[in-house]
């Protein structure tokens, strides 16, 4: 009997044979014995071993006997199989065939338990605990220990989100290795010695990491627990659903656990191609927003200026009356929360029911150049035609443009870090300063004042082994997409567009753009319209549509009569006040929302829709990879998806949307396929230059959103929000000196829409003449200031 490794890129001649319990296993050179044993189904007990962490050999649980190292000589003592590499011809005897190995394992387990509190009945881990499970499978029924157990006060807070119970800790060093090796935030470390060894942290510096939740998941005991989840449920009472995270465009697989029709916790799923076994704290802990008091559970209609609860038929009637009055003088704003299915529903609804191309998912700064780039290089591609996570790890260099991986797509950051640690990847950042995230990637800063990135890109060297990651913020950098298109053409480098929100990639594919129909079909291309019209059995409007900002400007100016809005915050746009005006002045506004928002406050009809955990669908991540969203909660207050509401509206308007459930939308979308005809032409826009500045009081603004900051999606996640970075402003040393402001002192940034005062951080790598502030300050987005990166702002020391 023999088993061969499933390693894709290993040729048979590179495999070596080892014999585990007399079964031959063929494995790639360098494979650890514990992994080889797994391949034949021999489960050697372990605690410190984790396939994604460097071996440490600390717990000694995985002892095996090695009668032959492959050279005819045996090892006199049992060996830890988690640190022992397979050698050709090696003989290994595990607990299955060796009494010595079995006794060694049982002996270690007994030792692990002597100082363990055995408080399983009140431990969060009880029921899913590797220590508990392996004590049952490889331990003794009773303990021979009659002495005194080591005790510690418990628990202590490692961060606002993570609690540490040192009594339960088996000192496997998984958490400390994760923080050091995987996320690069070594703020926890083992301290003290002997049985008093413990996980320690700086008293005045908590475990600051966007990935801290992973240590709870990989802890093989209940030593690390979540402040939110503590004592909320027993694992065996939870129902688990595999789904896809809605936090960003990386599309991590999640395991969402619920009880009593409420999500209790979310864990990282195991998806090696995407998130491996990790996820970020936003994805793990940020799931409370839908259970706030502002949840909308019934349709609302406006009567005498006030919204009141209405029945579904009444709300449908009101919506239809408004839409009929507006005709095709309507705009559709979808935002970034939608699944592919729902986005496709809006896209088709706009074209076939409303008869307009006025649809845009980009509730943010957007440009025609970006739309052209998306139409020419992104939309209609399939997985494998573009860059993948695996490519990030194996590329020789990755250049990030208008993209901060750790803040804007955190799992991309982890994969880049893996490439840097394991594969000699070099990362470059085209940015105004080297952020902490890039510092952890040992990245090279290609300094650029915001707005001048295009000229910097045109000077870059690249080759076919280079990957360029461009963020959605490039839409605000004139000429950047054009320069990238030129660079890839010139050098063979590959480019990937990484938007911020989970629904963005699917919305693009679904055609939620004024110039783009589903599957990358250009609106301007008659053949593409005919292709689609044939499939839909309905005419596709040919008039070019308005972008999101144009739609809002048009309603504000009275040129557009109605709005259909899926979900966004006015502060997401460059100018929040204009956006609010646009909604207010629109003659008729229909809002499909799950929670009260600034849009629902101003809407005429509000339809309640499902939260993400209440519906099924698909998120396409930035790789063009579909991620299945499964329904977690099956008893919901308002059992309607966006698609269902749109179908009802279509029915009432006398049209047929063609589907009423997400699965139907998906089937139709898949049948359409990608456009095989001519794509939108690549953009060719001249590089932007520096705006007028008057150093040092008038500076160029740099800004991006942080992973954790002001955002409706993290409402209710109190512990998570406590771990967010504080709001600060950043200046170069020379600029700060010219302004006469010292580190920690208040700095006021003033723009058209207002001013904000933040404490100053002096950033050594920052280019002069630039000020950075976060795009999502706690409580106020950048949109409130009516300014975008690359524009000038007034800056002065002190409060406003």
């Amino acid at each position: 009997m023999s088993v061969e490794a499933k390693a894709g890129d290993v040729v048979a001649s590179d495999l070596i044979s080892v014999f585990i319990d007399d079964t031959e296993v063929k494995v790639p050179k360098g494979t650890l014995v514990i992994r080889a044993a797994e391949m034949i189904g021999v489960d050697i007990p372990r605690f410190c071993d984790h396939p994604l962490l460097d071996p440490v050999g600390a717990c000694r649980e995985c002892m095996v006997e090695v009668p032959d190292m492959g050279n005819g000589r045996g090892m006199p003592k049992p060996q830890a199989s988690c640190t022992l590499e397979c050698a050709p011809g090696m003989q290994v005897k595990t607990q299955v065939s060796s009494e010595k190995a079995d006794k060694a394992q049982r002996g270690i387990l007994e030792l692990l338990l002597i100082n363990h509190p055995l408080d399983c009945p009140i431990c969060d881990k009880g029921g899913e605990c590797p220590l508990q499970n392996q004590a049952m499978s490889h331990g003794r029924g009773t303990s021979r220990y009659e002495g005194v157990k080591r005790t510690f006060p418990k628990p202590v807070s490692v961060s606002a989100q993570i609690l540490l119970d040192r009594e339960r800790c088996v000192l496997c060093a998984r958490c400390t290795r994760f923080s050091e090796q995987i996320s690069g935030d070594p703020f926890i470390a083992l301290v003290e010695r002997g049985a008093l060894q413990q996980v320690g942290f700086y008293e005045d510096h908590p475990y600051d990491s966007y990935f801290s939740g992973n240590v709870i998941q990989i802890c093989p005991v209940g030593a690390l627990t979540s402040a939110d989840y503590r004592f909320q449920a027993r694992p065996f009472d939870l129902v688990s659903t595999t789904t896809t995270c809605e936090g960003c465009a990386s599309g991590c697989e999640l395991r969402t656990d619920h009880r009593h029709f409420q999500v209790k916790r979310r864990l990282a799923g195991n998806k090696p191609e995407v998130n491996e076994e990790w996820n970020c704290d936003l994805g793990r802990f940020g799931f409370y927003s839908g259970r706030q008091d502002d949840r909308i559970t019934a349709p609302l209609v406006r009567e005498n200026g006030e919204l009141r609860v209405a029945s579904w038929p009444e709300a449908i009637d009101a919506a239809v009356t408004g839409l009929k009055a507006a005709g095709s003088s309507v705009g559709v704003l979808t935002g970034g929360r939608l699944t592919l299915e729902n986005a496709y529903g809006y896209s088709k609804f706009a074209r076939t029911v409303l008869g307009t191309n006025n649809i845009d998912f980009r509730s943010r700064q957007a440009s025609d150049e970006e739309a052209q780039f998306l139409g020419s290089s992104v939309a209609g591609k399939r997985l494998g035609e573009g860059v993948t996570f695996a490519d990030l790890q194996s590329a020789s260099s990755v250049i990030c443009v208008a993209f901060e991986p750790e803040e804007e797509s955190a799992i991309v950051f982890l994969r880049l870090r893996k490439g840097v640690r394991k594969n000699k990847l070099t990362v470059h950042s085209v940015a105004p300063y080297l952020s902490n995230g890039f510092a952890k990637l040992n990245a090279n800063l290609i300094a650029a004042v915001p707005g001048t990135e295009a000229s910097v890109i045109s000077t870059l060297d690249a080759d076919a082994d280079t990957v360029i990651l461009v963020g959605e913020r490039a839409a605000g950098l004139p000429g950047a997409f054009s320069a990238l298109a030129d660079l890839t053409e010139r050098t063979g480098a590959r480019v990937a567009w990484i938007p911020r929100r989970a629904g963005d990639r699917g919305a693009l594919e679904a055609g939620c753009l004024p110039g783009l129909l589903p599957g990358g079909r250009p609106v301007a291309d008659a053949a593409a319209r005919v292709d689609l019209a044939a499939a839909w059995g309905a005419e596709v409007p040919s008039a070019p549509g308005l972008t999101g900002a144009q739609i809002l400007a048009a309603t504000a100016a009275g040129e557009l009569n109605a709005l259909v809005v899926a979900g966004f915050q006015p502060t997401d746009f460059a100018d929040a006040q204009t956006t609010r005006d646009g909604i207010e002045k629109a003659g008729f506004v229909i809002s499909l929302e799950s929670r009260q928002s600034e849009v629902t406050e101003r809407a005429d009809v509000v339809f309640p829709v499902d939260l993400i955990e209440e519906q099924a669908g698909t998120f396409w991540n930035w790789e063009h990879r579909p991620g299945r969203v499964n329904r977690v909660i099956k008893r919901v207050p308002s059992p309607m998806t966006d698609v269902r509401v749109l179908a009802m509206l279509a029915d009432a308007l006398g049209e047929d949307l063609g589907f009423r459930v997400p699965a139907g939308a998906r089937a139709e979308f898949d049948e359409l396929g990608a456009w095989e005809g001519a794509r939108v032409a690549a953009p060719a826009v001249a590089a932007g230059g520096l705006p007028d500045v008057a150093f040092p009081t008038s500076l160029v603004l740099a800004s991006w959103r942080l992973l954790l900051g002001g955002s409706a999606s993290t409402d209710g996640a109190t512990a998570l929000l406590e771990t967010a970075k504080p709001d600060v402003a950043r200046l170069s040393p020379a600029t700060a000196a010219a302004l006469g402001v010292g580190a920690g002192e208040p700095l006021t940034v003033t723009a058209r829409g207002g001013a904000t005062t933040l404490p100053l951080v002096i950033e050594d790598s920052m280019v002069d003449g630039v000020v950075w502030i976060p795009g999502n300050r706690h409580g106020a987005g950048l949109g409130e200031l009516d300014v975008v990166a690359g524009e000038t702002v007034e800056v002065n020391g002190g409060a406003a």
Binding site: P55, V56, G57, A58, C59, R60, E61, M63, P76, K77, P78, T83, K103, A104, R106, G107, I108, E110, L111, L112, I114, N115, R144, Y145, G147, V148, R150, V170, L171, L190, V191, E192, R193, G194, A195, L196, Q197
Partner: protein, 439 residues
């Protein structure tokens, strides 16, 4: 009788201010260095190989072979690290050597560094011995002033920097990889091997780690020749070495003799077991080496002789215990030491020593239960050979050997406190301790 002694390292210890460079030079000091610099590094390695010198830190690995493992094609710098973290209970050879004649080590460091081609040498000294550190620092400073260290040593073109580094007080830092971690500024815990230090040691560069006595033996070998050295000692354990006798002997201290001398001979040299008493048990090389009994008194104290008796030569720290001593109490004290010094990295050592101490305290207090001996031996079996490094092996060796030779004393622990069987005051070396006192 004294013709059994072969003072080489200790030859100058009784001289006036033997630690000063001028006095060291007067007795042939730095002649070995001058001779070495006139030959090629590989010739120096050959001489050391031919001499049969083996590591004096306990393991007895052939020194010349260790040096030749250092890859010469590695682009990283090479390092020599001297292990002066002498902390094994009973062991007292490196510290007296460094107090009396630090230049012997410094000269050895320079010759050894020259042989392996390293430009930086580190001496990691146990942090508690401040006086030794100061004396060693002074000696290194003198060597620099005399042109034996620094740039272009004695006009040879060879450069060497020597760094004296003080540890922070952890027995585990005597383990070579934990020592390297500590030297790099990390917490001292043993590293996973491979890679071995010879390939990736200090700062992930090729590194030779040797004991103080090993490196201090090199100058004499170079000066007097390999055959002079190998003419001393036994067949596979060549040369002279420092034996330190402590405990119930009339004249404790350091005795430099050829390898293969017996305890009987050493006891004769040291005036025997203290008057009116007789030998009960002893350790050949510190508390990590299984204890031996009077029956083993004529065994050769060399690597093979001790291995043959089921023990180890270790650090040649001979602790002598007479019939007034409680084996149970002695074992408990040793295991308490290992529990205190366990670094905590691996389970068997961290938890096992914690448990063993509690069991042994029961035996000492006469509160152990029937079957506890078997439980303790089984526990030792679950610890020994399962741990990350050898610290835990040392911790159980004293327990298992004590039970093997003195099982009945442990059985008495089922009902009678050790302090009643062996009133502790009687085994005290100093009269002040009151009869019957116990800790």
């Amino acid at each position: 009788m004294t013709d059994l002694l072969t003072p080489v390292l200790s030859k100058n210890w009784t001289q006036e201010r033997s630690w000063k460079i001028a006095n060291y030079e007067r007795t042939g000091g730095y002649q070995g260095l001058k001779k070495a610099l006139k030959t090629s590094p590989s010739d120096v390695i050959s001489v050391v190989k031919d001499s049969g010198l083996r590591g004096r830190g306990g393991a007895g690995f052939p020194t010349g072979m260790k040096w030749s493992f250092v890859p010469q094609d590695n682009p990283n710098p090479k390092y020599l690290v001297v292990n002066a973290d002498e902390s094994e209970p009973g062991t007292c050879k490196d510290m007296p050597l460094l107090m009396a004649s630090p230049h012997t080590l410094v000269e050895g460091v320079i010759i050894s560094s020259y042989a392996i081609g390293c430009a930086y040498a580190f001496i990691y000294v146990r942090g508690e011995v401040a006086h030794v550190i100061r004396r060693l620092q002074q000696a290194v400073r003198e060597a620099y002033s005399a042109g034996y260290a620094g740039k272009n040593i004695l006009g040879s073109g060879y450069d060497l920097e020597i760094v004296v580094h003080a540890g922070a007080g952890a027995y585990i830092c005597g383990e070579e990889t934990a020592l390297l971690d500590s030297l790099e500024g990390r917490r001292g815990q043993p590293r996973l091997r491979p890679p071995f230090p010879a390939v990736a040691g200090l700062y992930a560069s090729p590194t030779v780690v040797n004991n103080v006595e090993t490196i201090s033996s090199v100058p004499s070998i170079i000066r007097e020749g390999a055959s002079w050295f190998s003419s001393m000692g036994s067949e596979k354990s060549k040369g002279y070495t420092l034996y330190s006798l402590s405990g119930h002997v009339a004249r404790p201290g350091q005795f430099e003799a050829p390898l293969g001398i017996t305890l009987r001979q050493l006891l004769e040299l040291s005036g025997g077991v203290r008057e009116g008493h007789e030998l009960k048990f002893w350790t050949p090389g510190g508390s990590s080496t299984p204890i031996l009994t009077p029956a083993d008194i004529d065994l050769p104290l060399d690597y093979e002789g001790m291995a043959g008796a089921g023990s180890m030569l270790g650090t040649k720290a001979l602790q002598i215990f007479d019939e007034t001593t409680s084996v149970v109490r002695t074992t408990l004290r040793w295991v308490e030491f290992y529990k205190h010094e366990s670094c905590g990295k691996c389970t068997p050592c961290r938890e096992g020593t914690w448990w063993l101490v509690q069991l042994l305290r029961d035996f000492e207090a006469g509160k152990a239960s029937e079957g506890d001996i078997e439980k303790m031996l089984d526990l030792c079996d679950n610890i020994g050979g399962k741990s990350f490094c050898a610290l835990a092996d040392g911790a159980v060796a004293c327990v298992t050997s004590a039970v093997k030779h003195f099982r009945s004393e442990f059985e008495q622990g089922y009902h009678t406190p050790a302090w009643e069987l062996f009133p502790y005051g009687r085994s005290a070396l100093f009269a002040k301790q009151s009869e019957g006192a116990h800790a």
